[in-house]
Structures are given as C-alpha cells and as structure tokens.
Amino acid sequence: MKEAFPAVLASKDGLRVACALFNLLDAKDRKLVVKSLPVGEMATNRIAHLFLMHVANNLDDTQLTKKKLMHEVLIKLDDHIDDTNFRNVLNSALVPLEVEKDAAGDVYYKRNSFVQGDDLHAMSLLLNKSTSKKDRKVRGAELFNIVRKPLEMFFEEKLSYYLLDAKPNLVMKNLFVGIASQGEAGSSDLCDEMVR
C-alpha cells in the first residue's frame, strides 16, 4: 500500500479505495503510509489533496499530523497559496470535516463550503469502520492550532494585499473566524492589525 497509494490517487475511484483502506488501517500502518506520502506534491493535485484532507481529519497521531503532514504543506505556503486544492487542504485544517449518519447507519462527511458533495461522498467510504478513536472536536481543535500560527504570520505580512484582493481568500476568512470562535480575536495580533 505504501507504494501503491500515489498511483491509486490518480482517479476518483482510486480515492474511494485509498480513503476506505486508510479507514481500516491500524495506527501503526497508518503511520507507515503517511510517512511515505509525497505531501507537497499531493497538496496541489486535484484528487490527491482530498486524500490528504481525509488523512488530516482521521489521523489520531497529532505529532505525525504536525511534523509530517501539515509541516510539508505549510512550507509550500508561499508558492501555492493561490492554488484551490492547496487552499482546500488548509481549509480542512481550519474548519475540520464534520460527519453525519444516514438512515442506514452509514457515516458520511457533511457538506461544507469548500469541497464538492461528490468528492466528500467518495472520501466517506467505510468511514463508519474507521479505526480512529479520537473525538472529532478534539482533533479539529488540534488541527486548527497546528496551522494557526504559521498562517497568522503569513497573512500578517501581506494583510493589506489579501484584504484588498478582489477574489476572497477563504483560508484567511476561516482563519479569522476560527480565531474569533476561540475567543481570541481581541488578543490576536493579526486581528488587531486587521481592525487597524
């Protein structure tokens, strides 16, 4: 699987398979797979970035998420911030994917503002059989805190540019709203700079 994952992620059916297999893997095998992923390249790929979002939102190992996954995404921030797929990976860390159960008991990712419904559906295969144990809210808060500081620094440097940009930047918006929802908008340097 370590070798096959990048090739599998060339199609949407492959994405379904990859996400389903990742759900079934135990923590040790997940670690092996994550360590072998070319995260930097995947983050801008139309399909592979969806798998990264799935991994970030299901992996229980915070350190692995921080030091491998999000670290490799964040070092490419300057180069790829305008890429929609790259932005989606960051958005899924700022606004973690929520799940819901249907009448048959199957678990699906809830619709959100940045991923299309059929992509979310493809990522949801065997989500109810996931070996993840961590509470989604706890993981979500950890994910937010991993990306918060680097993104704050990035946007603080170029705040006027992004505030005046005609195309709204959803990453920046989600960052600001996330800070506010933690009750720290009053004490954040970035928010202070924005209000000024």
Partner: protein, 90 residues
C-alpha cells in the same frame, strides 16, 4: 468575514466580547458610512444576537431617524430595512 467573526465570538459565550465590542465601536463611530455600505450587516449581526445586542441598542435607537432618512433615499436597501425593523422592535 467581520460579521462571521462577531457571530463566532458571540457563540462561545465569552463575556468579554472584545472583538464584538471593537466592531460595535467602529461601526457606531462611522455610523453613516457603515449603514450606507455593508457595515449594516455587522450592525444587524450585533443587534440580532442576544449576547451583543447591548453593545449597539442604545445608540441605534438614538440614531433611528438617520436610518429612516437613508431608507427614504434608498428603498432597495434590504439590510437597512431589516435593521430598522430590529431597531423598532428594541
């Protein structure tokens, strides 16, 4: 974005509401500019939310006539219509 930030801060029940207070001060200080633009939606968010209502209610009631004047000039301003309804209900 600012509206969503006010909403998010009010949702956690933070009694300090530092950001909402700052936004209330800014929009009330530049009241005429705010109500003629998208700032009206920030005021609307502040007045609709029970946690933040007290930050703007007094000043909004006092400036009701200004809102009515602007509405006479621009009947199509939906945000202003809703804000005026809320102010009347205060």
């Amino acid at each position: 974005m600012l509206k969503d930030m006010v909403k998010a801060e009010a949702a956690i029940g933070d009694s300090k509401l530092k950001f909402a207070t700052t936004m209330a001060k800014v929009t009330l200080k530049h009241f005429e500019i705010a109500v003629r633009g998208r700032g009206v939606f920030i005021l609307l968010e502040l007045v609709e939310n029970e946690a933040t209502k007290h930050l703007v209610s007094k000043q909004l009631k006092a400036q009701k006539s200004i809102l009515e004047d602007f509405l006479k000039k621009d009947r199509g301003a939906k945000g202003l219509v809703v804000l005026l309804k809320k102010v009347n209900a205060l």
